[in-house]
């Protein structure tokens, strides 16, 4: 009887929490109304959406009107970066400043702004994956419309110096966006403490379903909408509001924050034990972002003489689900733009395996992965050069 498989890919997505499913269910059934309608069904839906918005806001230190609900992290990032740039077009602020380690949702938005005539600038990143403040000082000038830097990198888990970057952006009057998709629930995100203007989150990273996200929009921050047609969400995001998903996001955020300190301590212990044990058994393994502050749930490592694709397949065949960080739609493994930007040599970058612990991870999982890892590495290395 084979042992049950191990899910070490919480940075990719997480299971929907039972409490979240329960909270959503009435809004697929009796409470099915459209929150724009005048009648009782509409009022019921409106009240639920407003309450959800308020709860989501509270989780981010924000007012309800500062929460814009989206279809997920990608839309949130697109709306923030592209919408934030487009609305300032022609105002003398034409530059969009971001980093080469962003999620493609941000990078592609910046590229799109450049195609539309914007001036795209990428900040430098050091070898541990931290954005250079020196480079930020150089590039953040009064012509910057929007700067966007992720809070936690989705491949390495490295935490970026958001406080300092926000201050630099504010100094030149630029709007500051942070992609907090990997950060929510792992570090403190509070709009009252940190003066970012825009901040994206994605529900399925912490127990809500795929298909719901939000962007915090500080009062006074203008965005050009991506969609057209309705007045929902103050016209920022037209489209019939997704009532059950709004409730799912609110519920998942509250649960996550309630458990945050204990869960982060647990994850950190699991991750650190995994990292130490793997390094002990494979001493030449390289942990990306080591030495930089890192979120507690992620471990990205490369073993010289192996490749990500073969490692992921071998791990999966042994029942261990990991990721290479950047999978494309077909599921094939492609080179990591993040590790490349950090100056990781290609042969090492192409060997990266991302393990992310979370809700499902237990001590026993870590033991099992550690136990099977050396043999996998030995096998992979014996194959080196064969392909």
């Amino acid at each position: 009887m084979p042992q049950p498989p191990i899910y070490l890919d919480h940075a990719a997505t997480t299971p929907v929490r039972p409490e979240v499913i329960e909270a959503m269910l009435p809004y697929f059934g009796a409470k099915f109304g459209n929150s724009s309608s005048t009648h009782r069904w509409g009022r019921e839906a409106r009240a639920a959406t407003d309450a959800a918005r308020e709860r989501i806001g509270a989780c981010l230190g924000a007012n309800p009107d500062e929460i814009c609900l989206t279809s997920g992290g990608t839309e949130a990032d697109n709306l923030a970066v592209l919408g934030g740039w487009r609305v300032q077009r022609g105002s003398g602020r034409n530059a969009v400043v971001t980093t080469p380690i962003e999620h493609k949702a941000v990078l592609a938005s910046a590229h799109q702004a450049a195609k539309e005539g914007g001036d795209e600038r990428l900040l430098d990143v050091d070898a541990t994956g931290v954005v250079s403040l020196e480079s930020a000082r150089t590039h953040l000038r009064p012509d910057v419309a929007i700067a966007s830097v992720m809070w936690v990198n989705n491949e390495t888990g490295v935490i970026q110096p958001i406080e300092e970057l926000v201050a630099l952006a504010k100094n030149v009057g630029a709007v500051f966006h942070t992609d907090a998709v990997q950060a929510f629930g792992k570090i403190v995100i509070d709009a009252k403490l940190t003066p970012f203007d825009l901040c994206s989150v994605s529900g399925h990273k912490f127990g809500a379903p795929k298909g719901i996200g939000a962007v915090f929009v500080r009062r006074g921050t203008a965005l050009a909408p991506l969609f057209f047609g309705g007045t929902q969400d103050r016209g920022r995001r037209p489209g019939t509001e997704n009532v059950p998903m709004a409730i799912a996001l609110a519920t998942a955020m509250e649960l996550t924050l309630r458990e945050k300190d204990a869960e982060c301590a647990r994850l950190l212990a699991l991750r650190d034990r995994l990292e130490a044990a793997l390094l002990e058994r494979v001493p030449d393994a390289v942990v990306h972002g080591r030495g930089a502050p890192r979120a507690p749930h992620m471990l990205s490592l490369s073993v010289p003489g192996t490749d990500s694709e073969s490692m992921l397949i071998a791990l999966d065949l042994q029942g261990v689900a990991c990721s290479s960080g950047s999978a494309c739609q077909s599921g094939s493994v492609t080179a990591s733009h993040v590790l490349n930007a950090m100056g990781v040599p290609p042969e090492l970058g192409s060997a990266a395996v991302r393990m992310s612990v979370g809700k499902l991870t237990t001590d026993e999982h870590i033991d099992r992965v550690v136990a099977l890892f050396p043999a996998l590495i030995a096998k992979a290395r014996s194959m080196a050069g064969r392909f």
Partner: protein
Amino acid sequence: MTAKARVLVAMSGGVDSSVAAALLVRQGYDVVGVTMKLFEDGSELPDRPCCSLDSTSDARRVAELLGIPHYVLNMVDHFSRDVIADFVAEYARGRTPIPCVRCNTFTKFSDLVAKADGIDAQYVATGHYARAIDGELHRGLDDNKDQTYFLWGINRLVLKRLMLPVGTMTKPETRALARELELPRVADKPESQEICFVPDGDYVKILRRELGDAAPALSPGRIVTMDGRDVGEHGGFARYTIGQRRGLPGGSGDPLYVVALRPETREVVVGPREALLGTRVAASGINWLVETPPLAGDEVQVRIRHRAPLAPAVVEQVDDGEVSLSLLSPVSAISPGQSAVFYDGTRVLGGGFID
């Protein structure tokens, strides 16, 4: 319970490899499905290097139905180097390449075998219409579908590890089995005839991309008759292949055929149909698939084009990696770059590239 041997099966999403995978699952093997990603799909969108190829999705759905793991292997770099680059270089040299041969030789039955080793798969399976019997390669039972013409270049040692489950079936039988197994989408898929990385058949587009419009192979040149008469202009010799009629000046007299390409002078040589006939085949880059290759004086059958009938021939000379044969009766359009594959009945002896 003894662990069943692991088989890595290459699944393209088509009916043949889907049925191959299904048959192996039915036989109780530990089957792992893979789809090779060989080139970027939609590379005209620079921000979207992704590959939501329908065929990959079909393979994944079949694997899911069969309850086997399925992975996409990124083999873009190697395929580009081993197959596409050679394809382009061959046209530039005035030859007519068969990329499928090199794909089988390098990609499927070398790189993929290395991947199989990496996951401790003892066997590698594909949906080819051919049979691997006792470490030798035989033609598939369906004469209409036999694909051994493309398989002569593979490492002989791989044959012992090769499983070709549909090689004993006819295509209609394969389709019927796909329907019976209710494999999603694949049973009635049309046959793929084109080269996979030239889906619209316009290989000149690939040559332009790789060589540039100004390349000699794509530059205008003269069309001349065998006795040196200039009969017109062409738009690049790489657009022509031996035996071709299309794209030649018409008019009075007998129809003209391309009988030779002269890359050094960029000339396309034309002549009457009879000029295409030949009785001598010289091939190089020979690979043998049998322990005892034929010797000078032995009689074999040779195929010089996919689906061409087997032609009886006598081996004239066997040198290091080179073979010349004399055909017992003339055949048409023996084209440099195509394969010459040698048979003894159903058994594939080996093959090479026609010079």
